[in-house]
């Protein structure tokens, strides 16, 4: 038996068209991973405005795409788009299903990752904006075992979303750590959608076939945990040893000890074989020693002040000197106005904005430079006061000032959030995890 998983989403805001290609190619499970670390902070800002938000709002659109395949019994749908409000997301899904005229579909919602109400007990700040533990695959397996065709979760670890259907289908035991590790590797390869199929490829990226239609990936997984990574026929991008290994190590820290809630996987045990024709075989995965931990990782979010920024472009000659003078002007004016700025950041696009002091432009004078000044203040009002001086630069600053185009860079303050990891006893969290199954 082979189980086909489709990696339908890598972040909140990802493309929808490649999802149609996955569904048309045929996948047993469409798995959508919506939650980067940054996403939780974005969703928190939504929830601050409206208590019924806090989930990925394009969830109904995914549902609309996948529903015909769910109704046909061809595909089940798993997503962590519930964000920091999976209950509201579950309601939205049920509502969307009803408005599509659907009936007889089992929708499961996984709750319990939210530990904010237990902050004191866990030694976390009581005024945290959110505190969520990364759950593993177990509650999703429970939902699938109960016949759920659509599973909505909050903060479940990315790879565990993909591991769950494999455990459900193959009946892997929770102490069959090598198999679990193999499932985590498959999940990790799929969780960033187009990043394993040619997106962000650092090699000959310009040779990606049909680059406006980079495919999302499919894993065809065998009961022993080995898998072939591929992509739907007729799509763009590529699946090669090179594109797969770049994703294999993406954001994993120590590759010999990749910590997931379900298993500690050894990514250095993995063998990748390029089979040609956009197919790469993944095999040999083992768990690390010891293969599991007693804790879940979590993320806790606290307010961290406000930021504003201004971007000013200057032309050759002496573009960098002009941009530097303009930013110095703004800093001096903020100081004279008594604005309590806690942190400044200067960046010079075209010179060193990304490379810092590693950038060496030799004697080459850039044709234009954008100076970007960002600042942090404790309150929103102060952040707004710095940008009030930008207009003066138009006629009373260095010559050849230009804007950087419409919109953005207008200095409107935004809230900063500190999102920090914590670790919590698994038992404490497991006791509050619930799987609610509802038939629409």
């Amino acid at each position: 038996m082979t189980v086909r998983l489709g990696g339908g989403q890598g972040f909140y805001g990802d493309g929808h068209r490649p999802v149609d290609d996955l569904l048309a190619a045929g996948v047993d499970y469409l798995v959508c991973e919506a939650l980067a670390e940054l996403t939780l902070a974005i969703l928190q800002k939504d929830r601050q405005r409206d208590e019924s938000l806090g989930y990925a709002r394009d969830l109904p659109l995914y549902l609309q795409q996948v529903m015909p395949y769910v109704l046909d019994g061809r595909t089940r749908f798993i997503t962590n788009a519930g964000g920091i409000n999976p209950v509201a997301a579950g309601r939205a899904v049920v509502g969307a299903a009803r408005s599509l005229g659907v009936s007889g579909v089992r929708v499961a919602t996984v709750v319990g990752d939210d530990v904010r109400s237990r902050a004191l007990e866990l030694g976390l700040p009581e005024d945290a904006l959110f505190a969520s533990a990364y759950l593993g695959a177990r509650p999703i397996v429970e939902a699938l075992d109960a016949g759920a065709q659509v599973v909505i979760t909050g903060r479940v670890a990315d790879a565990s979303l993909f591991l769950a259907p494999l455990v459900h289908e193959f009946g892997w035991a929770w102490d069959d750590f090598d198999s679990l590790a193999a499932g985590v590797v498959v999940g990790h390869l799929l969780e960033c959608s187009g990043q394993v199929t040619g997106g962000n490829y650092s090699g000959r990226w310009w040779e990606n076939p049909d680059p406006t239609r980079i495919a999302f990936p499919i894993a065809s997984v065998e009961p022993d945990g080995s898998a072939v990574i591929s992509k739907p026929p007729g799509t763009g991008g590529m699946v090669t040893f090179d594109t797969v290994r770049e994703q294999l190590l993406y954001e994993v820290h120590d590759p010999a000890h990749y910590f997931s809630p379900d298993v500690v996987a050894d990514f250095t045990s993995v063998t990748l074989d390029d089979l040609g024709d956009d197919r790469v075989r993944v095999s040999g995965t083992r768990a690390a020693t010891p293969p599991s931990t007693d804790t879940y990782k979590g993320l806790v979010c606290m307010p961290a002040g406000y930021a504003g920024e201004a971007r000013l472009a200057y032309s050759w000659p002496d573009a960098e000197a002009k941009a530097r003078a303009a930013l110095a002007f703004l800093r001096k004016r903020a100081e004279e106005n008594g604005v309590p700025v806690e942190e400044w950041r200067e960046e010079y696009f075209g010179v060193s904005a990304f490379g810092g002091s590693t950038a060496d432009n030799g004697d080459c004078e850039p044709p234009e430079v954008i100076g970007r000044l960002a600042w942090r203040t404790a309150d929103r009002e102060s952040a707004g006061r710095v940008v009030g001086e930008v207009g003066v630069l138009g006629l009373s600053g260095p010559p050849t000032i230009s804007s950087t185009g419409r919109g953005r860079g207008d200095g409107r303050p935004s809230q900063l959030l500190a999102v920090d990891p914590f670790y919590v006893d698994k038992k404490l969290v497991d006791d509050q995890v619930r799987v609610e199954v509802e038939e629409v």
């Binding site: 940054l38 904005a353 999102v419």
Partner: protein, 121 residues
């Protein structure tokens, strides 16, 4: 020995976890991997990044895919939602490391597979 920029010798991809920048280098053959092992140490990477990285740099080996992993602490201005940096996710850090120059055996430099440049559309 020959002097070569990492850009010509290997691939790179980087990302983030909190205030940690996580970066991998990918060699194209065993000889290039050995050269990276001896030349691109954690200390050199820390020195290369200078003011971009406040904390320690750790290196890990993944010989199965001819890759080196660098975990750089205090590298993103406090983490993505807290950072004042444009590149608050560290996506450019891989490229920044490719700017490093290293001394490698002549045959490794001669066999470097990444010298080709993309055409301008």
């Amino acid at each position: 020995m020959a002097r070569i920029q990492l850009r010509d010798l290997c691939g790179a991809r980087s990302g983030d976890k909190g205030d940690i920048s996580d970066l991998s280098l990918f060699a194209d053959d065993e000889a290039a991997y050995e050269a990276l092992l001896s030349e691109v140490t954690a200390d050199k990477v820390k020195a290369h990044f200078g003011e971009l990285v406040d904390g320690d740099v750790e290196r890990y080996e993944a010989r199965n895919v001819l890759a080196l992993k660098f975990v750089m602490h205090g590298a993103l201005g406090g983490g993505a939602p807290r950072s004042l940096r444009s590149d608050n996710l560290g996506k450019t850090h891989g490229a920044t490391l490719l700017r490093m120059w290293v001394d490698v055996p002549d045959d490794v430099a001669a066999n470097a597979k990444r010298r080709e440049r993309p055409p301008l559309p």
